[in-house]
Symmetry: D3
Subunit: 249 residues, 6 copies
C-alpha cells in the first residue's frame, strides 16, 4: 500500500521528520511517499495560510493521486481536506482528523497542545469543522518564540510537557494530542511523563489511512462528496485544471 | 466611500449584474468598484472551487485593498472571507454573511433558495461557519439544469418563486434569501409574489459595508483577527506575497 | 427617512444622548425622531423591568408607528422586540441586535461590557434569544455603584476601558461592545485605547435601520412574524388596543 | 397550603375549568385560589399578547402574593414567569414548565399538541426558554377555527386525539402534552385512546407547586433570581410600583 | 401510595437515612418501602459501578415492582433508570432526575456539589443523559478523603457549605443541589447558610414520585419506552429473566 | 497482536460470523480471539438489555483482559464500553464507535441502517453518547420480522440495500453503516449497489483496534478514565470482584 504523505508546507526537514515517524509505525507493506509543497509558507499557522495552503494541496494531489492508494494531508488543521475528499477518488485523511478521531477512542475529551499562539484560532476552527467540539477539552499554546520550525519539538520539549501536564489537570482532559507537524514523534519520547494517553498525529494518520484502505470504501457517486461535475477553468495549475474539467479520465 | 465589489468568479456579466443592483441601492457618495477574478471558474459551487476561489480572493485583495474603504466578497458562500478579514486592514464583508445577518432582523429563521443542487453542501457549511444554524430554516435547491449562468435568475424566475413559496410553508421560514450571485436583483422583481420579506444579497452587502464603514471599526491588533506576523513565502502571487511577508507597509 | 428612536426607559437625558450619537452617524436624509417612555423605570436592568418595559414599547409603537419608516428599540436587551416585529408593519430593530449583528462582521466572537452587575442575566438571555451564543465570548460587568445613569459613561470611562482590555485577553474576544444605552458614544471616545474593533450600539442601530429600510422588506403575511389576527382586548392603552383589535386600519 | 391559580387571560370560564381540574388533583389541605386577569385578552396566543400578559401577571402577583404559599401562572407559554420568579418571594411555577418537566420523567421526548396555529411560535420559544429543546419531539397545531375558547377541548376532542396519535408515530414522541389552558382536563378523558403517557398541564402544575413548597426553597439573595434592588417607577399599577420601589416590605 | 425507595448501593445505613428524610417530606398516605441492594458496592461512584449497579436495579425491580405504585432509584446518577422505565409498568424516578428537574423551577442554572472527586465524571454524564447541560452551572467535588460513607454529610458539613458558597459565586448558579445519597437531609440543616435555594434530592424524589402517580400516567405501548418484546435469556436472575421473557404476566 | 472479539450476546453463530469477517481484514500477525457471552440474551436490542449486557461485558473482560492486547466489544451500541475503558488497562473499542469514527473520514454525515425497529432508540443514545449527533444523518430500521438472528443479513439483503439507497437520498448521507452484529460482512457483498462508501462495522473495529495498539497509548492515571480506586464488593462474579477490589494486581 502506498500512502502519500503530503506536506502542504515548504519545510522539507519537517516532511522528513514525519516520514520517519510514520514509516516506523506503518504496517509491513505500507510505503510512505513524501511530498513537500513546492510553494507556500514554511509552516501554515493562520486562516490565510490555510486558505492558500489548501489550494496548493489540491494542486499537489492533482499531480500525485494516481500513484498512491490514499493520501495524508500532513498539517494539523487539515488544509484543503474536504475539498480533496470531494474531488479525488482515493481516500484522503487529515492529520488533525486522524489524531482527534483516534483520541476519541481513548477517553471522552482530548486536549490539544501546540507550540505557537498563532495556531490557536485555526485549530479551533478545525475542531469545529470536524463536529468534535464536544470531545475537545481545550487548545493550549506556548507563548514564547522558537528558533527553527523543524526542531521546535526538541527545543521546547520540556515546556510542552509541562503545559500538557497543566492542561490535563486544569481542563479535565482524558487524552493529549501534541499538534503541529514539527511535533511529530514527540509523543513517543515523552509519553511516560504524561499521565494520560498521548496520540501522535503522524502515527494516527498512517494507521487511519491503512484502516480506511482496508475498509475498501468506494468513491461516492451520491451525497455531498461525490465528484463535482466538469467545469471550465482559467489560469489554474495544469493538472488541477484537468481534474476539474474532467480532462484527466 | 469606495466599495470593492470583488467577484471571485470569472463571469464578467455576473459582476456587471451585481454592480448594477448594488449601485442602485448604494447611498449617495458610495461608489462600487467592480473587479472580476482573472482566474478560477465561472461560478464557484463546491468545496473545491471555494478552496481555490478563496485563495484567488486573497490575491485580488492584495492588489486592490489600498484603493477602497471596504470590500465585498461577492459570492454567496463567502470564499476566503475569514482569511481576508485577518490579513487586510479594511473591512471585508461576505455576500452570504450580509444577507443572513440582514435576514436575522426580519424574522427568526431564514430560508435559502438557490438554482443548483451542487451549491447545497457549500452553503450549509457557510451557515455553520457563521454560527447561524439556529437561524436557518432550510436550504433548498432547484434540480434541473440551466442554460447560462449569467441569466439563470431570469430563466428560472418562476420555478424559483414556486420553490420559495413552498419552502416558506414547509420549512416554517420567516424570511427568504435568493442565494447565488446570478440571482442578484431577483428579490426586487418577485417580492410581491412571496409572503415573507425577501433579502437581496447584493443590496444587503452594500448596505452592510456602508454600515461597517460608518462604525469606523479599527483593525484589530489583538484577538484572532489581528494581522498575522510576517512570514517568508515561495511561489505566491507578488502582491499577496508582499502582504504576507509584510514588505508592503 | 424617519427613524423612531424609541427609548423604553424614562430617562430623557439618555434619549438625548442617543439621539445625538445616532444623528451624527446617520446618512444625509435620515432623521431620528426621539421618543422617551412616559412610564416605567429610569433604566431597565432586570427581567421584570424588561417584561414591563416591553409592554410599554408596544404602547409607544402603537402611537408612533405610522409616522416613521422604521423604529429602533433603544435599550440594550431589546425589550418587546419580537412582539413589536410581529404586530407592526414597519421594520423594528433592537439596539442589542444591531450591535451584535454588526459585531459579527468584524470577528468571530464579541464581548459585551457594561456598567452594572444587574444587567448581566438579562443580556445573557438576550444573546440566547437572538441565537448568537456561539458568537459571544463573554458578558462582563462593573461591580461598583455609579452616580447618575445619564453620565455613567463619563464617570466610569477609565474602568470600563480597563475591563474591556482585560476581557479581550482573558475571554479571547475579537470585537467589543459597550452595552447599555447610557454608554452610547463611548466607543468613539475610547476606540484607540482598545486593541479590537469597538461597536457603538446606537451607530449600529441607525445604520442597520437604514440598511433594512433600503432592503425594502415587505411585512410578512406568512411565517411567525405575520400580523396576528384581530382579538378583543380589555383595559389596554387605547392605541395598542386598536392595533390588536385591528380597529386601526 | 394555598396556591394562587393565576390566569393571565380574561376568560373566567377557563379559570373555572382549570380550578376544577386542579382542585381534584390537589393533595388534602391544598386550596387553589383562582384569579383571572382583569385586563388583557381572552387567550394569549402570540408574542405580543405574551409580552403584555406577562406584565399583567406581575401586576396581579403584586396584589396577591402575600396571600398564598405559591403561585401558578396558568397559561401554557408561561408569560412573565422568569420576571415573577425574580421579583416575588414565593415560588412561582409555569403551566408549560410544570407540564414539560413532568413529562421528562415519563420518556425522552414529549410532543406538544394544541388547538390553534397561532400558538406554535410562542410555544416553540417557551420550550427554548426552558432549555428543553432536546427533550421536545415536536409542536403540532390544529388548523381549523373553533367556536368558543372555553369549550375548545370538548369541541375538538376527536381531532385533537387523532392529531396526538399521528404526532406520536410521525415525530417519535414518548409522552404527550395537550397544551393551552382550555385543554385542561382533556388528558383524563382521552388517555386511554393515546398509546403514550399524557400529561395534564394543570394537574402537573398543582403537583409541582406542592412539590416546590414541600422542598421549602428559600428566596435567593444571590444568583440571577435574587430580588432586584429598589428602583423608582412612573405610571405603573400601584401594588407593582410599591414592589419595585421596595415600599411594600 | 407505596413508593419503593430502591438503594442500588449495599449501605443499609444510607438507605435508612434516605427513608427518614423522605418519609418526613411525604404526603399523608405515602409510605416509603426501603430496599437495599443485596449485591454490588457500598456506594456507586464510577461508570463501571453504575453499569453493574444499574443491572442490579433491574433485578431488584423485577422482585419488587408489583408491590408498589412507583419506584425511586435512590442513587444520584440514576443507574439503570432508562432501562427500568422501559421494562416496568410503574413509574420509576431517578434521584438526580428529580433533584435537577425540581431545581429547574427555582432558577436558570443549578450547581451540583458532592463529596468525592470520583463522582464528577459520572454526574456529568448523568446531566447530559437528561438533556440538561444548558441548565447546569457546574459540578464541584471535595477533594479530601472521608471516614464513613454513611456519615460523610455530617463529617464534611462545613466544607460542603463553603464549597457551595464558592460555587454559587464563581459559577453563577441560581440553585444548589447537594448530590450523593449520603448527603440526604443536609439541605435542611444548612439551607440558611446558603444564599440560593437548596434542593434536597430525596425530598425532591418523593415529591416527584407523588406528582407522577397523581398524573396517573399510563404505561406506553408506543414510543421508545414501550415494554420490549419477549426475548429468551440465559443465566439472569429469576425474576428479571421472567420479566424479560414475559413469563410474569 | 491478539484482539479479543467479545460478543456480549449469547449467539455463537454471530460470534463466528464476526470472527470470519474480522480475521479476513486483519493485518498479518493479528489474531482474533472470539468470546461469546455465557449469559444474557441472543441479541441486545433495548436499553434494558444493554444495561445487563454491559455488566456481563465487564465480567467477561475481567476473565480475559490479560490474554490480549486490546478488546472489541462486538455489539453495535457498545454496551459497557466506557466502563470497560475505565476499569481495564488494555484498549477497548466499541463496534459502533469504530464504525462511526471510520465513517467520519469518508464524509460529513453517516446514516445507520439496521434490521429491527427495536434497535433505533438504543442506537440513537449511542450516537449521542459518542458526541457524534452532528455527524449522523439518520438511523433507519426495517419494520418487518425476521427468521433467524444469525442469518438476518442474508434474509433481508435486498430490503436493506433498498432502505440504504432511500436513506442516502432522503436523509442526505455521505456514508452508510449497516449496524448490528448480524449484518457483519454485508457491506462487502452489496457495496457496489450503494452509491456512497459503506463501512463494515467489524472491519472498522479490527482496523481501529490495530491502530490504537500501534499508537501504544498508556493507561491513564489521570483524567476520567484512570482506573478507579479499590472498593469492596458483594455478590459480583469472582474475576470482576477481584478487579474492582484490586486484588488482581
Amino acid at each position: 500500500m502506498k500512502l502519500l504523505l503530503l506536506n502542504p508546507n515548504t519545510s522539507t526537514p519537517v516532511t522528513q521528520l514525519m516520514t520517519e515517524v510514520g514509516q516506523r509505525a506503518a504496517a509491513p507493506g505500507t510505503e510512505l511517499i513524501p511530498c513537500t509543497a513546492p510553494r507556500g509558507v514554511p509552516y501554515i499557522a493562520t486562516r490565510t495560510e490555510a486558505q492558500i495552503g489548501g489550494a496548493i494541496v489540491l494542486e499537489m494531489l492533482a499531480e500525485q493521486h494516481r500513484k498512491v492508494d490514499a493520501a495524508i494531508i500532513a498539517a494539523f488543521g487539515d488544509p484543503g481536506l474536504f475539498a480533496a475528499r470531494e474531488t479525488f477518488d482515493i481516500p484522503v485523511i487529515g492529520l488533525a482528523e486522524a489524531a482527534m478521531l483516534s483520541a476519541c477512542m481513548a477517553g471522552r475529551r482530548f486536549a490539544i497542545v501546540t507550540f505557537a499562539q498563532a495556531l490557536g484560532p485555526w485549530y479551533e476552527e478545525c475542531v469545529r469543522d470536524h463536529g468534535l467540539r464536544e470531545r475537545c477539552a481545550s487548545i493550549r499554546m506556548l507563548d514564547t518564540p522558537f528558533q527553527a520550525i523543524s526542531d521546535v519539538g526538541g527545543e521546547k520539549e520540556d515546556v510542552l510537557v509541562e503545559l500538557a501536564q497543566r492542561t490535563i489537570i486544569e481542563d479535565e482532559a482524558d487524552v493529549l494530542i501534541f499538534a503541529g507537524a514539527p511535533l511529530s514523534g514527540l509523543a513517543e519520547r515523552v509519553a511516560d511523563r504524561i499521565p494520560v494517553p498521548v496520540v501522535d498525529q503522524v502515527v494516527a494518520a498512517v494507521k487511519q489511512a491503512e484502516a480506511v484502505v482496508a475498509l475498501r470504501l468506494r468513491k461516492a457517486t451520491a451525497g455531498t462528496f461525490r465528484r463535482p461535475a466538469a467545469k471550465p477553468t482559467i489560469g489554474l495549475a495544469d493538472a488541477l485544471a484537468a481534474r476539474l474539467e474532467r480532462r484527466d479520465s
